[in-house]
Amino acid sequence: MSTTTDPPTPSRLFPETQTVWIADRLSEGEAGIMLANGYLMESYVRPLSIYCSKIGLARSVRIEADDLVHGFFANRLSNSEYLKSWLTSGLRLRQWLRNGLHFYVHELRRQNATQLGLQIGDQELTQEVPSDGAAHDHEFERAWALAALDLAMKETKVELEKRGRRDEWEMFWSHHVEGVPHAKIGERFQMSSAQVAQRTFAVAAQLRDALCGILRKDGALGSQIDLEVRSMMEVLNEIRS
């Protein structure tokens, strides 16, 4: 039986609304908020933590990056209004959280300064890391792209395993990542080339749906998914070149 707290079933036909899943959870009271918070922790801790490490944000408050991000989530998500504020911000969730993390670091620096009896001005507080906006944006977007894809992969594999179809992931991987022709994969799994092609296509669609679900929760419109994926690829390409 489906409950209102199940993650949304991905579909090729997405409604043109943003932030639906989290808005729905927030309207469900304590249990829904816990679910939304859990999702945030699962999806955003790693990209934020990598971002903190890469740009030296964690060093600026002498805390390990993971601890800083966990502290940030514990602090902000304990306030039930925090995510509600995002709903009206017009920002993508990841941008909202990244901005929030910077504010949190300002607060920590102010607290540290107060404890040490130091006078610290607002300008100094905002200089928690050397300013290199575009490069920092890039680091975060890159970490986010990998995190979202990683999560989509895990969801897809779990789903396939639940249905006893783990082999289909192996077929998909062999073809799309290792470049093995369908016919050759078919020899290994005793299937025709067409059967392998059909299965790898189905897994690709499932992976796409999983990624769509993640992007929609971040605030993307259903019609923007291809655009989103392309911009994620662009970020990865730019890093490489």
């Binding site: 990998l146 894809l149 990542v177 992976l207 291809d226 990865l236 890093i239 490489r240």
Partner: protein
């Protein structure tokens, strides 16, 4: 690479290459051929693959006519539908095609393709760093030529 990698913890070039291949799979026929080619070149055996593909293209032409002949030969091996599903042979021809365009640009600034300069620049930027050194230099010279053309206000 194993089929259950941790893309984040394995923050190496191979992770990025795998991510690119997975994104191409997700986009299916809508994946851009340049991205498909980039994913192929960046794969673990990608540099060996691109070296083999380009080894067939010797000696490097010493005239624009020679580069055009290369381009025409490469183009004959590209079937659009194959390219959009990442067929290895179509990708190999596409790499040769881009190299011919880059070669002509680097040679004397001639554009031998109707492809827009924006697309060519992107191809040079994305594919250039992924191929062998001698071709990287040709791609770099081609990109500089494009910049000069842009600065002088003319179009290709």
């Amino acid at each position: 690479m194993k089929s259950d990698p941790d893309l984040h913890h394995d923050d190496s070039g191979s992770s990025i290459a795998v991510a690119m291949q997975l994104f191409c799979a997700i986009l299916g026929p809508n994946a851009h051929p340049i991205d498909r080619l980039a994913a192929r070149c960046a794969a673990s055996d990608g540099s060996q693959w691109s070296c083999q593909v380009l080894a067939a293209f010797v000696p490097v032409p010493k005239s624009i006519d020679g580069w055009i002949a290369w381009k025409d030969m490469a183009k004959s091996g590209i079937r659009e539908s194959d390219l959009h599903i990442g067929d290895p042979l179509a990708l190999a021809s596409f790499l040769q095609y881009l190299c011919a365009i880059a070669g002509a640009l680097a040679f004397d600034g001639t554009s031998i393709s109707k492809t827009s300069s924006v697309e060519i620049r992107r191809a040079l930027n994305v594919i250039g760093p992924l191929i062998e050194q001698s071709w990287q230099e040709i791609f770099l010279r081609a990109r500089n030529r494009l910049d000069q053309i842009k600065d002088s206000g003319s179009t290709i």
